[in-house]
């Protein structure tokens, strides 16, 4: 599989038409020639534009991936927040066109080969995440952290997408944001300078105060520590 020319936005509509055609007539039953006809170009041009019969199905991933890379390059957010936001943005993009997402999903059930293809495509996100994490992580972070967290981000994203496609959840970006916050919290010590410090809170309180007063004092102390 050779280098594929970058997908221009105009292709987006064509690709939806192609996906629709594939879903209606079946994946195997549709030849590359049929597909080319369906999107209104010659077989040659079809391959030049989309690279392969499979890639037409995942055309928007190119866009989402580029957007993610740009975002991570430019963001000023804290690393944990940046990862959560970046991942949620990708999901938002994929969820924006429910019809395409659902047809893709059906096709992937019909054809395991497409599942594989999707896997490969989503793995490119992993690489982008890992590169970003390596760039922003604390000094002396072990090598395994970046690939490990990157893989988890993609896995959590994919799980949320699946749940949404199966209609187990309705607000996928919200769900993924919640889950990702908990995930990145696990890695906080390598993502933020404060996370690395072991802290001991010594609370000295007036024994004559009420339990509520003690709790209040502890809460105030926790706030001062920053979350």
């Amino acid at each position: 599989m050779p280098a594929k020319p970058p997908t221009v936005p105009a292709d987006q509509q064509s690709s939806v038409a192609a996906i629709r055609h594939l879903a209606e007539r079946g994946y195997e039953a549709t030849t590359a020639g049929d597909l080319a006809d369906a999107v209104g170009m010659s077989r040659s041009t079809f391959f030049r534009r989309f690279g392969s019969k499979d890639d037409v199905i995942f055309a928007d991933h190119d866009h989402a991936l580029a957007q993610l890379a740009d975002f991570l390059d430019a963001t000023e957010l804290q690393p944990g927040e940046a990862l959560v936001e970046g991942t949620a943005d990708v999901l938002r993009l994929l969820v924006r066109d429910p019809e395409a997402a659902r047809l893709r999903f059906e096709l992937m059930h019909e054809r395991p080969a497409l599942r594989d293809r999707e896997l490969v495509i989503t793995h490119r996100y992993e690489r982008v995440f890992a590169r970003y994490i390596r760039r922003v992580q604390q000094p002396a972070t072990p090598d395994w952290v970046a690939p490990s967290l990157a893989a988890s981000l993609v896995a959590v994203h994919n799980a949320a997408l699946r749940d949404w496609l199966r209609e187990r959840i309705t607000d996928a970006p919200r769900a993924v944001t919640r889950d990702l916050h908990r995930l990145t919290a696990l890695y906080e010590r390598w993502l933020t300078a404060e996370g690395g410090r072991q802290r001991v809170l010594v609370a000295v309180y007036d024994a004559s105060g009420s339990p509520d007063a003690v709790l209040g004092a502890v809460a105030a102390q926790l706030d001062r520590e920053g979350r």
Copy 2:
């Protein structure tokens, strides 16, 4: 790509021969027919046995995957330990035949398509891990935990394998065991009953005692909590 018959051990030698041939003559330059000749069977039989030109390169993964599934089904180890041991065992198996591993590695550099193929194959480990984690995790564990941890296990494994192939480390199983212990520690609260309990230690002590006495009392209390 249809169902592939399970790889029998006899194929293992054949597959090494095939890999060697591919590495020597180049991937593109070798047709499926050449490969069939190289391993001493007809083109038809070659496809029946290995399913595809790519799969012959990753034939041992079938074995490793089956071994992992059996191990996780049967083990009595604590979940965290089981995951570490299972993953390390897979790595041990892949590292056992350094020549095959290295040739595979070279081929994957030459042909990005093979990288993709490997990705798909290693993803099957993720599913096996996720299923096991879901089975043993604590009640009320959030849904995202199993896929997230499973993906990390595979990622850490792959990172160790890559480091070993690049000769950045010499004892891959040892390195991966160390890293995986740290990884599973992050998820301990969902993997063990003790990890899940939030504990608050309230130490009431005699203000007239020495600091050492206080520390001693605290230490004793911690011991009684188990660990």
